[in-house]
Amino acid sequence: MSRDWPLWEVFIRSKGGLSHKHVGSVHAPDPELAVRHARDVYTRRLEGVSIWVARSSDIVASDPAQAGPLFEPAETKVYRHPTFYDIPDVVKHI
């Protein structure tokens, strides 16, 4: 049966204030059941407060063969990192 179902990528928000994070994928016949399947597969141990699903075929990915021109130029730009600032202890997620 699952052979006939499209694949959905699952994103879970673990708690309020954090962003949704990719956790895996499920098969499901439609978006509503994809959310329920994601709930049943990925939130059994209180992992989340919110679920997103998206058709895997709708995800547009970068080309691994293009990794050089895409990412390597950033390697030498250390000044882009905000490491020259002191971050207050109260700021938890940065």
């Binding site: 049966m1 699952s2 179902w5 499920v26 098969h27 499901a28 016949p29 439609d30 509503e32 059941l33 329920r36 399947h37 049943d40 597969v41 059994r44």
Partner: protein, 259 residues
């Protein structure tokens, strides 16, 4: 049932009521566990197992409470694994064989729709321990009823084969619906005292929900046959004995075994 003769009449009625509630959940959980590793897809396998685990949690709470009130040293495990078939008080629907996925979904939809109404009522029980269990369980059961309804709609309004199987799945179960709404002399004093829910009063809401979902699923509306009853007083179908033989075999073979 080997209950202590000193039990008050109202305590005995309460114990029986708790067995009816707990055994419904326990037996259906065992049926759902039979799907584990066998369901049509990994996702549905987990869905059914999750529902089963919720039901085991409910059964544990109801049966532990029954054992506590009985005061004869039996806890939920003892009641689940060391009781014989005639002492079980579950409705006949939950002990029915799984059949195919559609037949399992038909049972889950009918049962969870009824159980949701039942537990919503029990959250207002004047017996606070029952109200507390119902308040915890009602959220679980709402999810069960919703996902089962989603499947009824998809199978009913799906392919010719899924539709045919959904109709056959319901045809197996219609005759067991009336029992869900049947009160009796044992429960009436509990209903009068606000402890138990008046089962008959839940029927109209149930019919409304079932008909609405079947319409959305483009399925024919039910024509209920004459209902079969008896589970509440221990008159079970032949299926329950086989189920218990599997469920109870390990604890009965090794009664003192621990994890």
């Amino acid at each position: 049932m080997a209950s202590a003769p000193a039990l008050l009449r109202e305590d005995q009625a309460l114990i029986d009521y708790l067995l009816r509630l707990g055994d419904d959940s326990l037996i259906l959980a065992q049926r759902l566990a039979e799907w584990c590793g066998m369901a049509p897809a990994l996702e549905t396998d987990l869905s059914l197992a999750n529902i089963g685990l919720d039901l085991i949690g409910q059964a544990t709470l109801f049966l532990n409470l029954a054992g506590e009130i009985e005061g004869a040293g039996r806890d939920g495990d003892k009641l689940a694994f060391h009781r014989d078939v005639l002492a079980f008080r579950n409705c006949l629907m939950v002990e029915q064989p799984n059949g195919d996925f559609a037949q399992t979904i038909a049972r889950q939809f009918l049962f969870s729709t009824w159980q949701l109404a039942m537990f919503e009522g029990l959250t207002g029980s004047t017996e606070p321990r029952i109200a507390e269990i119902a308040a915890k369980a009602v959220k679980e059961v709402r999810y069960h009823a919703e996902i089962a309804a989603e499947w009824v709609i998809r199978l009913g309004d799906g392919t010719d084969q899924s539709r045919e199987r959904m109709i056959e799945g319901f045809d197996w179960h219609w005759r067991f619906v009336d029992e869900l709404f049947e009160g009796d002399a044992l429960e009436q004093p509990l209903v009068d005292a606000g402890i138990a829910v008046d089962r008959a009063a839940l029927r109209q809401g149930f019919d409304t929900t079932v008909n609405a979902v079947l319409r959305e699923a483009t399925l024919p509306l039910p024509e209920y046959p004459r209902g079969i009853t008896g589970g509440r007083v221990g008159h079970h179908s032949e299926h329950l004995g086989h189920l218990l033989a599997t469920m109870q075999s390990v604890p009965r073979t090794y009664p003192d075994a621990v994890w």
